[in-house]
């Protein structure tokens, strides 16, 4: 355990949370794509993780997987609280997505690291489009107006770029595996 964890276990929480937040969000997002649902579950997860943080023995290495377990439970709890017609995924499918092997969290973290590499490989114009679409509150409609394009065309481009990035991540992962 690090000095920080020894002397101020609660003080380490924000740092660990910030480090693993994208991976946890990605895990929740696959099951709950609606941004409001995602935000609500993430907030519940953060509160529970904060309260139970002192129970975690190996926080440095175990934080991400541990929070994923909390997130899994909170997703299922959240689903139970919602009307069935509001949920996109059937119960068995949602559980299938949530039942992951123990090393999945580190895989997801690797994906996020590869995403950084892959983003750099995109053309400047595509980088700029992604930045505008994701790093602001701008709607696709407004983004399309600015770029003098049809909204659907912008949406298709963004979808294609996401697929390009996903393919690139898979390639990066396979190269890492081969090394």
């Amino acid at each position: 355990m690090s000095d920080e964890l020894n002397t101020d276990p609660r003080g380490a929480f924000p740092r660990l949370w910030a480090k693993h937040d994208p991976g946890i969000r990605a895990f929740v997002r696959a099951s709950l794509p609606d941004p409001h649902d995602l935000a609500e579950v993430m907030q519940n997860v953060s509160v529970i993780a904060w309260k139970k943080f002192s129970d975690l023995e190996d926080a440095e290495t175990g934080f991400g997987p541990w929070v994923s377990v909390i997130a899994r439970y909170e997703i299922l709890k959240f689903r139970r609280s919602k009307a069935r017609d509001r949920l996109v995924l059937d119960e068995d499918v949602a559980e299938k997505l949530l039942d992951e092997p123990s090393d999945s969290f580190s895989t997801r973290s690797e994906w996020l690291l590869c995403l950084s590499t892959c983003l750099k490989k995109l053309k400047k114009d595509h980088q700029s489009l992604l930045q505008e679409a994701y790093a602001s509150d701008m709607s696709i409609k407004k983004l399309a107006e600015q770029r003098k394009r049809k909204p659907n065309a912008v949406y298709q481009t963004l979808s294609r770029l996401r697929s390009v990035l996903a393919d690139c991540i898979e390639k990066e992962m396979s190269m890492k595996g081969a090394q």
Binding site: P33, H36, I140, R162
Partner: protein
Amino acid sequence: MKNKHDKLFYKYLDGRLSEEEKSELNNLLRKDNEACERLKLLATVSEGLSEYSYHPQNNVTKPSLKYVPWLISLAASIVAVLSFLKPEATPDFPKLEVSTPQTPFYALLVDQAGAGFADGAGPDQVRFKKGFYQLDDGVIHLRFSNGVDTVMRAPATFAIMNDSNIRLDHGDVWAIVPAGAEGFTISSPSIDYEDRGTEFAISVDGEKRSSTLHVIDGQVDARNPKSSELLSSVFEGQSTEFSDGELIPVKTPDLSKFPSPNSIGYLRWQEQHSFYTNQSDELIGYFPFFEEPQLKNYSTNPIAGNGGIHGARWVTGRWPGKKALLFDRDDDYVEFNITHEFDELSMSTWINIDRFDKTLTSVFVSNDWDVPGDFFWQMTRYGQICMGYHGGNRINKTNTQVIPTGQWIHLSGSVSIPQKRVKLYINGEMMSYADLDPSSFNKMVPGMCRMGNWHTTNINEGNKVRALCGKIDQFSIWQKELSQEEVDELVELGKISVLWAMSSR
């Protein structure tokens, strides 16, 4: 081709699936493990793009962590506030999902009661960014990223400039500035009020372009906004009015019109009456403690009856205006006669205990304790609490917390004979669990019982005096076991303020 389903997955991730496509997606994911993995990857890409602040000239950088610590500490409150807010209207074309706005926000709405903003002049859910806001209804409590708390009551118009500056055009605000956030400034027409580490209240009349400052604690400097010239330093207990270009000391400040963090709690409590009166028949006693000759039961199934007040006096409860009963003498109590039989009983109360000066202190106990089925809820000298009934043997599994004194707390507990267990909570946290053996008697019949005291005619009883020293300002009785979620809701509905919730849970 591994990305042949990507289009379907994007529709799912972006909230654009038709009913037919939902079915297609479920069938695909059910049978195709590779499709599941691809969806997880695309979700990670989408979330990664949202999370990373991407600058083409600077490559990829990690997101700012500025807000993380306080965001986490406030998360519980935000969830509660979110539940009061209606979701925004769906845009005509779905936005690419951005779950955490990357544009900075300076304050979060951590509590509110009846809040309503003018169209186009409200927050993004609970986030307040730089911009103009118009509060038309209710009261709001904002917490800034530097820890400053501000409470405002409608009508109010204001602009958030950054995390240390509000421009108040009209309205009343109460501000609590913690150490380290000194310099927090509320700008009003023609004058800036700069905090030096304190608690203060400001009222601005937009039409007259005048303002009044009351310093509750510490020091506030009034400055010329153009030259930053110090016009006056106002200290604890002092008030000043700025009108027609002049600062004039005010002798008799009226603080009653200013909203405080607690006033939101009181408004919420006033609104919660309908929550209790809309409960099912399982709520058999709801005592909001309105000042009346009897402790009146407002439940729609009031089989617990009204309570007869003996000695206990009406005093102020959790908030000014809210009534409580004070129990501070050995013969103060409220008596009930509950003759029904129960398999399950739960009770909850808001209580402020002065001290534990007796071996046992009664919250709610059947008289005499001589008949199987008699009920008890009482506390030990050491601040531990227990609940049960005559005939039900309890085996404590955990009893970890001590009840705090000198502050308002929420206590609740349930006895379930079918589930063979007793659960007790302090401020929504389970603090005691006991297994229950109902084999000798399997019904609860409280009969004649007292709140805040105990009566016995047994001359051999060693602990006859069990009078409560403290106040109670709400009490409820259910003929069912309360779940953790229900206990949480009771605490949420009655919490004194969001600041109380942060320090107590």
